[in-house]
Symmetry: C2
Subunit: 295 residues, 2 copies
């Protein structure tokens, strides 16, 4: 199977899982469920689900188990986008090529969509009772909750907000991104692996090193694309970081050095996968995808 | 031990557990952690933790297990208050006798405080790995996640917002409250029970009936207090429901009938506890507390 075929197959399974784990519009409150589905379905690169599936293949995780974990990861990611786009945060009107939730619906609905998607992620993990053993459900819950709380994603958001107009050092910028986006990407890899045969400590450490490199690469490339690509291609407002006075890799080390850094991080990611040999092929290909993407 | 002594002892343990499960201000991001602690600590009636502890006594749950569950419940409750008070929702400036989080800090911080408290609740449940078996962690996660998502608390909020200025029937009002506040109160009772020896189906059913009555009573009394008590006593803005055009028990069935209903629901709660005999004493006393409270 080529990487493209693998991706297409996974993306189809992810879409189906999201469809299944989101409450139907026919259930009350209909408008909230409609808005949750509007935010989650039919868009997005699904990077976290892809990482989760690729890591799950390493440990022989069952498809249904990885699907539940993937759905949880994507719902959490979308919740963070919906809240991040709200007027009191980044105040953005465009996301995944569509009006953001507070524009399409209203602010209160956007707030509740994010809140409910976070909860629904934990529902997905613990609803998969037939496919995940209790110990796995507990591990996956712990991984996800730690990754997205004040010591992870939400904390990174807080640092991001506080850094507007500030001059951050490169280590400070890295800390922010490690929390804001890196923690959830790392959780995607770990949750995929933990959904199968429990990996040993060395394997988890190698996966952490891989995820750290990919997570940082993801952000560096985001910063590059923000200044080199138009809004239509990105599906979100381009040039926004510079306009908002947000520190980025490009603003701190320049465009050329940012591109070199992305290439270096890709090498680091590949190197981290060495112990797994050919079994880590999909993870390696995903590292390439993250660095080579154009949107 | 008198009920007052029991309450005091439990409240002390709850405060200690919250203190322990909230990240310290010395950890970055300091301002977010300070705001989380501002929202959670030193205030509130702690009704959900009290119900959780009382139910845990029925099934012999260990203190540490109930403390983790209680901390999770209270953090989720506070997250819902913080978001509910935001300008795009109820736009309230006073809570638990203090300025609300978005007033004391800012809107973005209030949003992140709520988001991070929800995550931290799931951290608390799965951090208590030494005291809760994996199956219990999974059950408690499931109970909490279901109770607070779009089919529970967040969904009830959505219906509440949509009902402003509407004329609800009494069954519609009940559905809204069953989701908005009832679901989490029910989870408090169930999580306490599930933290001990797994209760049988009949016991869980009896506890559900108790929780349904107490949950509704809680809301009916809230509606009564909203029109009969001043803001200083309540610690939040009085008379707000009427001003906001929100349907309440008092507006639908009147003050006298609301008082009768609260008394009836207390009897229902007591009746539901009959199978447990004297072991359910604290739960019975809590039903009295909910109905007789003056703030």
């Amino acid at each position: 199977m080529t990487f493209e075929q693998w991706m297409r197959a996974v993306l189809e399974r992810v879409e189906h899982a999201l469809e299944q784990y989101l409450p139907p519009v026919s259930t009350a409150p209909a408008r909230l469920h409609e808005a949750m589905r509007y935010a989650v379905l039919g868009g997005g690169k699904r990077v976290r689900p892809l990482l989760c599936h690729a890591a799950g293949e390493l440990t022989g995780a069952r498809a249904e188990a990885v699907e539940a974990a993937s759905a949880a990861l994507e719902m959490v990611h979308v919740y963070s986008l919906v809240h991040d786009d709200m007027p009191c945060m980044d105040d953005d009107a465009l996301r995944r090529g569509k009006p953001t939730v507070h524009v399409q619906y209203d602010e209160a609905t956007a707030l509740l969509v994010g809140d409910a998607l976070q909860s629904q992620a934990f529902v997905a993990i613990t609803e998969a009772a037939g496919t995940l053993a209790p110990l796995q459900q507990a591990s996956l819950t712990r991984e996800l909750a730690f990754a997205i709380g004040s010591l992870g994603m939400a904390g990174g958001q807080a640092i991001d907000l506080a850094s507007v107009g500030q001059k951050l050092t490169r280590p400070q910028l890295e800390t922010m991104h490690r929390m804001k986006t890196g923690a959830l990407l790392r959780a995607a890899v770990r949750m995929g692996a933990l959904a199968g045969e429990t990996p040993d400590a060395a394997a988890l450490q190698a996966l952490d090193a891989y995820a750290a490199a990919v997570g940082l690469a993801f952000q560096v490339v985001d910063d590059i694309l923000d200044v080199t690509t138009d809004s239509a291609t990105l599906g979100k407002t381009a040039g926004k970081d510079a306009k908002d006075g947000k520190p980025t890799y490009v603003s701190i080390i320049g465009l050329d050095a940012s591109r070199e850094l992305a290439a270096q991080l890709r090498s680091d990611a590949h190197a981290a996968l060495a112990p797994f040999g050919a079994r880590a092929q999909r993870l390696a290909e995903l590292a390439d995808l993250v660095v080579n993407r154009v949107s």
